[in-house]
Symmetry: D4
Subunit: 218 residues, 8 copies
C-alpha cells in the first residue's frame, strides 16, 4: 500500500503541520510519507525514530538533524527563532529525563520557539529549584518532566503562576516502571491547574505550549 492520505490542510486549520510518528513505521513507509509531506512543506518532523532508521534516512534527504536521546529527526531548514527571550522553560527532575526534555526542546525549535532547559531540579532537593526562581519566572509557559514519583510538577505548580504542562517520564523500576506512577501522581496533584500529557510525550507538550503562545494571534 503506497497511497497515503497526508492532512496537508492541517497547518491552515490548527496552526501546525502533520508530523510523522517514526517508531512503528518501516523505512520504506517512512521514505514515502516524508516525500509526500515535502511536496507541500519545506520541512518535516519525525518523532521517536530509532537510530538505525536514521542512519539510512540521513542519506536520502538533505538538511537532516537528529537528536540521539529523544530520537527526534528534522528534515529541512529550521525557522528563525522568533524572540530573543525564551518563551518556554523546560524543567526536569534528573538527567535520565533528557530524552523527553529534548523531544520538547527540538519540537519547539522546529516551530521557531525559543526554550531553555533546566535539568536536575528534582523535588528531593528543592533548593536547586528555588535558587533559579527569578530565571524560571521569565518564561511564559513551563513544561515539567519527571519520572519515578513525578513530584516535581506539584512543587513547581505551588511556586509559579504560569501555565504548567506536566510530562510523566518512563524512567524508574518496580511500580515506577513505564511511567504510570508519575502519570497518576501528576493527574492527582494538589497543585491545581496543572495539565498532563501522555507518558514520554515531549512532542505533545511542545505543541500544547505552542497552542498557548498563539492565543493572542487571533
Amino acid at each position: 500500500m503506497s497511497n497515503f492520505n497526508i492532512d496537508h490542510q492541517r497547518e491552515g486549520r490548527i496552526g501546525f503541520p502533520e508530523i510523522v510518528f517514526g517508531a512503528s513505521k518501516d523505512i520504506n513507509t517512512l521514505k514515502n510519507i516524508i516525500n509526500h509531506v515535502l511536496e507541500k512543506n519545506s520541512k518535516v518532523l519525525i518523532t521517536k525514530l530509532q537510530p538505525e532508521k536514521y542512519e539510512i534516512l540521513k542519506n536520502e534527504f538533505r538538511d537532516t538533524f537528529y537528536d540521539l536521546p529523544s530520537g527526534i529527526m528534522i528534515i529541512g531548514k529550521l525557522p528563525t527563532i522568533r524572540k530573543k527571550k525564551e518563551e518556554v522553560g523546560i524543567l526536569s527532575g534528573g538527567t535520565s529525563d533528557e530524552f523527553v526534555v529534548n523531544e520538547a526542546f527540538y519540537t519547539l525549535s522546529f516551530l521557531g520557539i525559543k526554550a531553555k532547559r533546566y535539568i536536575d531540579v528534582g523535588a528531593a532537593g528543592v533548593h536547586r529549584l528555588t535558587e533559579k526562581t527569578e530565571q524560571i519566572k521569565t518564561a511564559k509557559v513551563l513544561i515539567v518532566c519527571a519520572g519515578f514519583e513525578g513530584a516535581l510538577p506539584t512543587v513547581v505548580g505551588g511556586l509559579f503562576p504560569q501555565p504548567i504542562i506536566a510530562v510523566p517520564v518512563s524512567v524508574g523500576y518496580g511500580v515506577a516502571k513505564g511511567g504510570k506512577a508519575a502519570l497518576n501522581a501528576m493527574l492527582s496533584s494538589c497543585a491545581n491547574g496543572l495539565t498532563v500529557t501522555n507518558i514520554d510525550n515531549g512532542y505533545g507538550a511542545a505543541i500544547a505550549a505552542y497552542r498557548i503562545l498563539n492565543i493572542n494571534k487571533k
Copy 2:
C-alpha cells in the same frame, strides 16, 4: 485538631487563592477552614460538596451559591466578569457531563472569567460540532469534557487551533466505569497538543485555563 495552616500567600505567588476540597471533610472542619480563609479573603470556593453539607453551611454564611450537579459552593460576592466576549469555551459530549462542565464554569465565574457552555456536541454526531465552528473559534481556550470513550477532544483537537484542556468524565459503565477509558483515550489522542486533567476535575481545568489567560499579564 482545630489549628489549620491556610496558604494565605498563594494568591500573591501563583495568581489564585487556596480553595477547599469539600468531599472528604466533615461539617466542623469545613466551618473552621472557611472561617480561616475568610479572615483574609472576601470569597471562598468549595468543590465537590455533598448537598446535605450545603444545607447546613448555607445557614452559617452569607452570600452563598450552590450548584447541585457539580456540588460547587461559592461564599462571597463574585467579581465582575472581566470581558464581554467569552474567553473560554466549555464543550461536552452529552448532558450527563453537566456536573463537570458546571464545575469548570462556576470556577471561572469565581475568577471573573466569562465562559460559554456547548452541551451535546459528542463525537457520534460530528455535525453538531461543525455547525458551531465559527462561534467556538472565538474562544481563547477550550475545555472539552467527555465520558464513555472520550473521543470528543480528538475531534476538537483536529479542528481548532486553541489550547485544549481535555477533562475525562466518570460517566459510563462496564470498562468506561470511573472514567479511566476516557482518561486513557485523551492521553493517547492523535490530535497533538491536547493536555489532560484528572477525571472529573472541572475545577483544575478552569484553573489551567486561568493560568493560560494570564500569560500576557506579566
Copy 3:
C-alpha cells in the same frame, strides 16, 4: 508429541475451516499441523507467523503467499473473488495500523471476499473520512482499525449504517501501549451498535464479517 487433533468438520459445521495460529508454534509443529490440514483441505491460512519461520516454510510447500507487515501466510490456491463490487470496507486511522488491516484483508481473500482498504482516515482529520462517504457506503460490512485512542470507530459509527467491527491496534506508547486504551475506548463508544474484537485481531474481524455476509445463505 506428533499426534494432532485437527477439527476437520469445522467448515461443515460453521462455514470456515480451522486455521493455524503461527506465533507460538515451532517449525516442526507447524509443518506437521499444516500437513495434517492439507490432507483434507486444498489450502491453509497461518496467522501471526514470524518472517524467519516463513523463510523455512516457503521451501516446504508450494503456492505460498506471505504478507510481511501482518505475518499472514497462505498455502494453496486462493478462491476466485466472488463479487466484483467490494463487500467489506477496511478503514484505519494511520499507516501504522497496516499490519492489522492486512491480516483482515488477506483472510477475506482466503475466503473469496473482495475488500477495499481505506488508510489514513483518522479521527484527528475528519474531512479525510467524510470526503469518501459515498464510496464507503457501498460496502456491506465495515472493519475499522485504530490504535492510540481508538476514536475512529465512534466517528464512523455515527456516520454509517452498516455493521461495524472495531479492531483495536497495539500502536502507541505510554498509556496507549499494547492497545488497551483503544480497546476500552471502542467498547465504551457512544456510537451504539459497534462490536469489538481482541487487540490486533484482524483475522477475527474478517471471520466476523464473513459470518455476517453469509446470513442470507440459509
Copy 4:
C-alpha cells in the same frame, strides 16, 4: 441548562434513532430530553433507568413500558414485529443474566425485530445447549450473554455459523466482579469470528444485530 442538542437526523443517517441513557440523568433532565425527542419521533427508548425514576416518569407520559430487571423503558407504541420467524436468538448462561438478556430483547422489540430468549444454557452443562441446536440454527444472528468466566460464546461459536455478538455480564464475585473476567475471555476466544460489546451492553448488542439484519436493505 435546558437547551439540548438532539441528533434528530441520526435515524436517516444510520437507520435507528438516538436513545437516552437513563442511569446518570436526573428526573428533570430526563423529562426535558424525552419531550425534545418526542417532538420529532413517535417513540423513545430509555436504558438503564432506575425504578424510582420510572415511578415518576410513568405519570408524565402515555404508553409507557418498563422492564424491572433491565431498567429499560419505552414510551410510545411499539412497531409491528416484522417477521413471524424469529431473527435473533438471545442465549444466556444462567438466570442471573436476565437483566442483560431483556435489555437486548426489548431494544429489538422497539425496533420491530422478533427475538427468542434461551436461558440457562451455560457451558458447565453443554447438553442443555446441544439439545436445542435445531431451533437455535433458525435465527439469523445470535446474541450470547454470560457472566462469571464467560465461556458460553466460545462453545456457541464452535457449534453455529451465524454472526455471534458476545455480551459479558457483570454477574460474579472475586475476580469475576464487574464482568471483566467474562469480557476478557470473550475477546480472547478461540472460537474465531466472535465480536464483543461492553459489559452489560444488551442495548448495543441489539443495535449491532439490527445493523446486521439490515445489510440487504441497500
Copy 5:
C-alpha cells in the same frame, strides 16, 4: 464459633500486644475477642471501628476512648507518656488526612510514646514545611501521611535525616481514588531511604516507629 486463639505471647516475643481489627467483625465477635484479650492484658486497641459499633461497645467496657475520624478505640488506662520531648513527628499534606494521622497518634499514645501532629504542610506550598524545620528536626522518627499525589514524603525525605515512614492516604478522586496513586508515588520516591506502609495504615506506621524507637533497648 466462639473459641478464639489470641496470641498472648506476642508482646513478650516482639514487644507489643496483639490488637483487634474492628472493621470486618460483628459486635458479638468483638465482645468475645476483647474479653479474651482483657483476661491477660490491662488494655486493648481496636482499629478502624465503625461509630455505630462503638456506640454499643462503650456500654460494655470501662475506660473507653474513641476517636471519630480514625475509628480507633482504646479500652483500659493509657500508660504514662515516657518522655517529655516528642519522639515522633506526624506530618500530613492536608486536613483530609486527619483520620490516618490520628490512627498513628493514638496508637503511639497507647504504647506510651509522645508524638506531635503537623497538619497542612503539603508539597504544593513548601514554605509551610520549611518554616517548621527546626521543630521537626527534634523528632526521632517521622511519619508522613499524604493522599492525592503523595508528594510530601519526597520533599520531607530530601530535607530531613530521620527514619521516614510514608503513609499513603485514600483521599482523592479519579486516578487518586483509593490511594494507589499516592502509594505508588511514595514507593517510587527519588528521596531514598523512605519506607512505606499500606494505604491508610496509620496503625502500622505507629508500630514501625515503635520498633525503631526500641532499637537501643537491647
Copy 6:
C-alpha cells in the same frame, strides 16, 4: 421468564447436584428455581444469600437452615455425616475469615462430609499452627482460608503433605481490599502443589475437597 433449565442430570454425571447462587437473583426467581430443584431432589443449597432474602424464603419452605456470616442456606434434611473422624480440616488466619470458613463447612455438611474448623492460626504467629500439627495431620484434605497478605497456605504447604486448597478472603484494606493481594500471593506460593479458588469461594473449595475424597470410589 419463568422457564428454567435445571441441570437435573448433573449429580449423576459429576457426583453433586446443581446449586443456586443467591446473591444476584430476586425473591421470585429464587422461589421458582428452588421449587424446580425440589421437584427431583430432596434438598437444595443456596450460596451467598442476603439475610433479608432469607427472612422471606424461610417462610416458604420447610427444614431451612441459614448461617448468617456466610449467607449459606440449606433447604431439606441434611445427610448423615459419613465418617466419625473428620475428613477435611478448614484453617483460617483470623476470625474475620469466618464467612468463608463457614461456607466451606456447611457445604461439606450438605454433602455428608465431616470437617473441623481451625480459626486464628495465622502466619504472624506460627506457633499457634505448629502446636496443632498432630490434629491437623489427621485430615485427608486441608482448606486454608486467608485474607490480607494470604501467607497462611504457604506456611501450611511447607508443613503438611495433604492436598491443600487455598481460598483467598476479601478481608483487608488498601492494596488488600477485595482479596486480590491474597489471591496473587497464594497463586505465587513457593510451597508447591497448592491449588487456589476464586476469592471468598468457600463453596468451591468444599466441592473440590469432595471431588478429592471421592477418587477411590471408582
Copy 7:
C-alpha cells in the same frame, strides 16, 4: 555467596523433595545447588531452565534428561512408574500449550506417576473432547491446561467427576497476553470445584495431583 540452605527434610515432611527453579539462577549457582541436593538425593528436578543453560549443565552431570518445550531438566535415574493404568489425565486446548503439559507430565514421571496427554481437545470443538469421554474417565485426577480464554476447564468440569486442576497458559495476544484472561476465567468458572494454579505452573499442578493421589497412604 556459595552457602545454600537446602531443605533436605522436605520429602520426609510433605512427601516430595525440594526442586530447583532454573529460570532466574546463573550457571554457577545452579551447579552449586544441584551438587548440594545430590549429596542427599539420587535425583534432581529443575524447572523452566533455558536451553543454553542446559547445554552447559548436561556436560557436568550424568543421566540428564531435558524437554525443550517446557525447559524441564531431570538429573538422575527416574523411578519405576508405579501403576500400569494412568493415574493422571492431562488435557489441553491446543498444541501451543505443550510446554505446560510437558512440565506437568515430566514432573509426574519424576515422581513415578503414570500420566496420559490429551492434546487439542479445546472448547471451540467440543466433540473432540466428548468422543474421548470413556478414556478420560479412567484417570483419577485431571489436569486441564488452556490459554486464550481458558474455557476448557469449565467444559471438563461439567462433564467429569474427578478432581480437576486448571492451569492457565500464557498463550495468546491482546487481552490474553501473559495468561491473565485464562487465569481469571478459570477462577470464575461456573463448573464448581475446580481449583487453579499460577499461570504456566505445570509443575505445581503435578505436585497437587501427587498430593491428591497420596491421600490414602496415611
Copy 8:
C-alpha cells in the same frame, strides 16, 4: 547537555550523599556525573549498572568495585566498618533474591555498616528460619527480601521485635512476574509494623536502615 546540578549539600542535610542511578544513563552522561561527584567527594555509589557499562567505566576510574548480580558499582576507598558486631541482618527467601540482597549489602558497606546475609530462609520451610533465631536477634535492623508470594516478612515480623524493612523482589512468573504480588502481600501483612520499599530496591532498604541506625546520633 553537559551541565549537571549535583546536590553536593545533601550529605550535610540528611546524612548520606547523592548516588547515581546507572540503569537509564549512557556512558558519557555517567562519566560526567561521576566526575562531578568526585570533585567534592572521595567515593561514589552507582546502582543497577549494566555489566557492559562497567566494563568501560572500570578503565576510567581507580579503586572500582562491581557486584555482578546486583549491578552495584563503587568508586573510591570504602570506609572502615564501624562496629564489629553486625548491625543489619539481611534475610531472603531464596538464592534468586541475591541481586537485591547484594544491593543492600554493598550499599551498607559503602556507608561503613556491617551486615550479615541469611540466604534461603523462605516461608515454605520455616524451620530454616527458626533455627537461626538467636543469631538474627543480635541485629539492630532487619531487611527481609522475598519474591514470589512475599510471605517471609510476615513470618519474620511475627517472630522478631526489630524494625523490619520488607523488600519485594521481581522473581517469579505468572501473577508473580515483576514483583507486584510480593509487594502487595508485604503491604497487606498481618505482622504489623513492617514497612516496605519499591520492588528490587535493596539500595533504598539500606538507606532506610542507615537512617534508623543514626537516630541516636542527634
